[in-house]
Amino acid sequence: MHPDQHTHAHEADEVPHTHPEPGVDPHLPLPDAPRALRIGIGGPVGSGKTALVAALCRALGDELRLAVVTNDIYTTEDADFLKRNGVLPVERIRAVETGCCPHTAIRDDISANLDAVEDLEDALGPLDLVLVESGGDNLTATFSKGLIDQQIFVVDVAGGDKVPRKGGPGVTTADLLVINKTDLAPLVSADLSVMDRDAKARRGELPTVFLSLVEDRAATPVADWIRSLVAARVPAAR
């Protein structure tokens, strides 16, 4: 390059081109929709995060431009499950490898997740919604605000009705708390009203929903919560 010869640098083999008048903005206007709404889905191993993602894909896949990023601890199992079950075309699903530390990848060093979201947007064009499932961890793992806009925390009834009382940042601060597997409550003698009361005490005004993905395969209360967020976000474009 010989930048001193030019007002800006050209590659030697660059295709000849002209420049617009100064004063003319050469860029396309920004699309009227903002970037995709990003929702993080966290919670302990086995609480039903992947099952919830699958349900949301079934419920929202036809009405929203949707993509999914999974974070597995050891494998690409969650991504493989979603692909196998055909809830979303395979090109809409990416797996991130997290190097032993799933909470690091969603909170302290979010680079691989951001790269995955960007790659999806590059490959698929503008999206309305990206779901980011965390690798299962304990009750302390939450998402960075640099990665997601809103987060859902999924706990399950089978873990016992004390989980909301134990708290932790996921239970306390998530934008939506999902208490899943209510169908199992009688089997594990879990008292849903205790969980409801404790969740309210921990979370104040923040919403909590009860769910059984066995009984409600479209995860209706969660899908509705997401629909309202998307609608609030893009008032004109939708």
Binding site: D4, Y74, T75, E97, G99, C100, I110, S111, D115
Partner: protein, 254 residues
């Protein structure tokens, strides 16, 4: 040169994707070649002398190539560069008053990127290096004014360009590269083998002078043509990386 800035660049907490990589250690642990502190020491010494030296040399070279260019005004420091380049290119845009900082441009460094491809026979390791280069650029863009050098440069090339953008020189870039080569695998060793973290840091302290030596020899050659830069290889690392990439269950991405 700002020492605190160098510490920032070399800090393992820099969100640049490194935590997901073991630098080839996981494959060697699984093959039974590394199982304790002594094994880790041998592994780290071998890595430093081979891929560590290459990474340091390419980081120093990438930094050196951008030395003569103007950093953004807010980064311009009074200190002259420690290693003046042979020919000093001019900034692309001369400054037009205070409100227009000089545009920061990088001479073509694609030969360095290709040089690292040539020195990295394993496609899995190339992919890992480029993924980490991309992540490092993302972190760098949040910290300093980083010139456009492509989407996924090799990690050492990105590191050299970041070092320059941060106002550091080739020697500092090389030190950061050598240090990162050993510390990344060392913390993976703590996680994979359950090694005593104090013992591992004792090992790292003993390796620090070696890192400095490797970095100094790398920085001394920063201005060499790419084909004359170090090309030390470790075939077991390449073979291990290719096998590792086929595993169904693994803790680290590489």
């Amino acid at each position: 040169m700002s020492l605190a800035t160098l510490l920032l660049l070399a800090d393992g907490r820099l969100p640049s994707g490194g935590h997901a990589h073991s630098g080839g250690l996981e494959a060697q642990v699984s093959a039974g070649r590394v199982g304790d502190l002594d094994g880790l020491a041998g592994f780290l010494r071998g890595k430093l002398a081979t891929s560590g030296l290459v990474a340091a040399a390419f980081a120093a070279a990438a930094c050196h190539r951008t030395l003569g260019t103007s950093p953004p005004a807010h980064l311009a420091r009074a200190t002259p560069p420690a290693h003046p380049p042979r020919a000093t290119p001019q900034p692309a845009h001369p400054a037009r008053g205070d409100q227009t900082p000089p545009l920061y441009f990088v001479p073509d460094i694609s030969d360095l990127d290709q040089g690292l491809d040539a020195r990295t026979p394993s496609p899995a390791l190339r992919k890992a290096s480029r993924a980490q280069g991309r992540a490092l650029l993302r972190a760098g863009r949040a910290m300093w004014a980083i010139p456009e050098i492509g989407r996924e440069p090799h990690q050492p090339v990105a590191l050299g360009v970041l070092a320059r953008a941060a106002g550091l020189g080739p020697l500092e870039a090389a030190v950061a590269a050598a240090h990162g080569t050993v510390t990344g695998s060392a913390s993976a060793g703590v996680r994979l083998l359950g090694l005593d973290p104090y013992a591992v840091h004792g090992l790292l302290a003993r390796l620090a002078p070696d890192c400095d030596r490797v970095a100094a020899s790398a920085a001394a050659r920063a201005g060499d043509p790419v084909d004359e830069l170090p090309a030390a290889g470790a075939p077991l690392l390449d073979i291990g990386a290719e096998l590792h990439a086929t595993w169904e269950v693994r803790l680290f991405a590489s």
